[in-house]
Subunit: 354 residues, 2 copies
DNA sequence: TTTGAGCATGTTCGCGTTAACACGAAGCCT
DNA sequence: AGGCTTCGTGTTAACGCGAACATGCTCAAA
């Protein structure tokens, strides 16, 4: 083989497998009649370039369709301007909203984001994601994953890599940004108590989730503080089906007048079960959810729920991470974003006891 | 040669602002007593390395915590092994599911993905995203955006960059992967007609969306083919509120016995309106949605809907793009993924006419 | 006039990696 | 034995960029 390449056309788009490459600074420089360093200065927006020269260079760039090679830039500068995001498949409403706001906040800060999916939340998969991360061109990482999976994973992140953890309060090495789960659950529980309900039942998230645990704890503490009975927890897994199953159980018990579901999806399933069993909401049973997903206002009846400020969570986590990358702040802060209760039509005064 | 011997700690983490860098191949090579080329061979998994040497190198890598510098790799090879994704904020269920499956498919193909968010679907924002994309380290792009915004955007993508478009059938320059909207809408409409309904009403998506347009057209054609009346379209915007508003209008009309909502969220709003107006579903009115989102099975009543195979859409689009990147296939194919009807409890036989 | 400060621009070099080639040591054929 | 391939390994160069330094020019102060 080995074509002697006599033609030497600088195009680089050989018929053979040769990789086509775009024009480089040198090409632009030649076109504009300047040195490549001057092209670099224009490209990076330095001010110490003559206006005349600058416009010549810009014209050359446009003509050749030049776009800077970020790999070379990153290699030179040691910075990728890129943030990695480790998360489970985008199945949960909260994660998505968080991701969304992170994406926008990152873009505003001049960073792009790379998704590192973890198809199945097993420890092994998490380890794989972390390994993959090690090979990734990122300046820092935001992790949106149940914390104990991180703790248990024996793989460790590259020591120097800044990390921010979202949505799971581990008390540990990394800064944490999260919704104030405890405050939200208290809001929900107190709302029901204030409506005159003797106590509040709870359909929780899975034991594997810190958020779920926090909400359950806070619900429990709130009841305790008010001196009320603590009904047994019905453990769910965030899914509508779990809510439905919980609802079937609860509707058999005539004492139940108020239920706090740990998320809106389970509240939806719960509502369905109550409808099917002929229990009226909020006439006989009041229901509160958690998340305030877009659809909640159209549930039947429209759901009273705890609104999470995902935008703020995203913004803060990016902010924290970028500061860490710039080595401005390293201490392991914990930042809790408060929630607010959105009262709709699924809650009402306790029915008069029979 | 000639190591300056005295100060010269090769750590690189100076007290001054100097950038910390991880160990390079050269460091590993020195540690293992081989050349850096051999380290490269081990790192890239070549087979022509002596077992003994390989394990020495691996040990050195582990000891120093070496991780390959992807920037240098990309610079050298001209490939980033990274796919850019342009999409609107993750507000729609379909986009999220698609993104999710793309992320996984890309990971399996050895590519990472970079999100390029477009906060507001205006032409200007799209242009900005495209510009930003130009500076991104991507080998190809998947666009999940209403097509006409692309057409109207006068910014053009770097000519050489492979592109695949999802979720909007533009008849154009780029390969398209999409759910077969027409087939799905036909399925929904025919299902209702087969149940004996005289005709089917439609709450559509926004005019700006190709998917919405396709579904509306197909609904219309199906009615035409069956020789039925064509009720006026109620135009929505995918939101539950739009479905609710549509429902209020429809429930005033006693002739309405069957409604096809262009997505599940609008179907949800529609259901609420019908409940509020005391119209029973499916007793008096049957409802079909489109998407089969996770929650749909827990609506009240559980929603009959058109299931989209988002996984397949994502898989195919990645597959197509990767093939284009490898220059294996360039023609502008269009790939439609069929849907299937999921019959639940929101549809039933037409009521006997009064 | 001399000196030097300020500015636009050019030149050199190295970031970490891998393709291409070079080389010596085997093993296998005539 | 001589020539051939195969195999493990080393050497060199280049990918595109930008920091650091060098150059030459202008203008103001001494």
């Amino acid at each position: 083989m080995a074509p002697p390449s006599q033609g030497s056309d600088s195009q680089g788009s050989d018929s053979a497998g040769r990789r086509r490459r775009g024009p480089s600074m040198a090409d632009v420089a030649r076109e504009a009649g300047v040195s490549s360093q001057t092209v670099s200065r224009v490209s990076t927006g330095r001010t110490n370039v003559d206006d005349d020269t600058r416009s010549r260079v810009l014209a050359a760039m446009r003509k050749l369709g030049y776009r800077p090679n970020s790999a070379a830039r990153a290699l030179r500068s040691g910075q990728f301007r890129n943030i990695g995001i480790i998360m489970f498949t985008l199945s949960s409403f909260g994660n998505i909203r968080t991701l969304d706001s992170i994406a926008i906040a990152a873009a505003n800060a001049g960073y792009s984001i790379t998704l590192i999916p973890v198809p199945h939340p097993t420890q092994g998969e998490v380890s794989i994601a972390f390994t993959r991360l090690g090979e990734q061109a990122v300046d820092g990482v935001i992790i949106i994953i149940e914390a104990h999976l991180i703790d248990e994973a024996d793989i460790e992140l590259p020591a120097e890599l800044p990390v921010v953890v979202v949505d799971s309060s581990l008390d540990s090495r990394y800064p944490v940004v999260d919704t104030d789960q405890a405050q939200g659950a208290r809001l929900a529980t107190e709302h029901l108590l204030n409506l005159g309900h003797r106590t509040v039942w709870h359909i929780s998230g899975p034991a594997s989730s810190y958020s779920a645990e926090r909400r359950r704890e806070s619900w429990s503490r709130t009841l305790l503080a008010a001196g009320r009975d603590q009904p047994p927890v019905i453990e769910g897994d965030w899914s509508t089906d779990a809510g439905y199953r919980g609802g079937l159980i609860l509707s058999e018990n005539p004492d139940v007048t108020a239920v706090f579901a740990a998320n809106d999806q389970m509240a939806l399933g719960l509502l369905r079960a109550l409808h099917e069993c002929g229990r009226s909401v909020p006439g006989q049973i009041s229901v509160v959810g958690f998340d305030d997903m877009q659809e909640s206002s159209s549930f039947w009846p429209p759901l009273t729920t705890v609104h999470q400020e995902f935008d703020e969570v995203g913004r803060h986590s990016v902010d924290l991470l970028v500061r860490a990358i710039k080595q401005e702040a390293t201490e392991a802060t914990t930042l809790l974003v408060p929630t607010r209760l959105v009262v709709r039509a699924s809650t009402g005064p306790a029915p008069q006891s029979t």
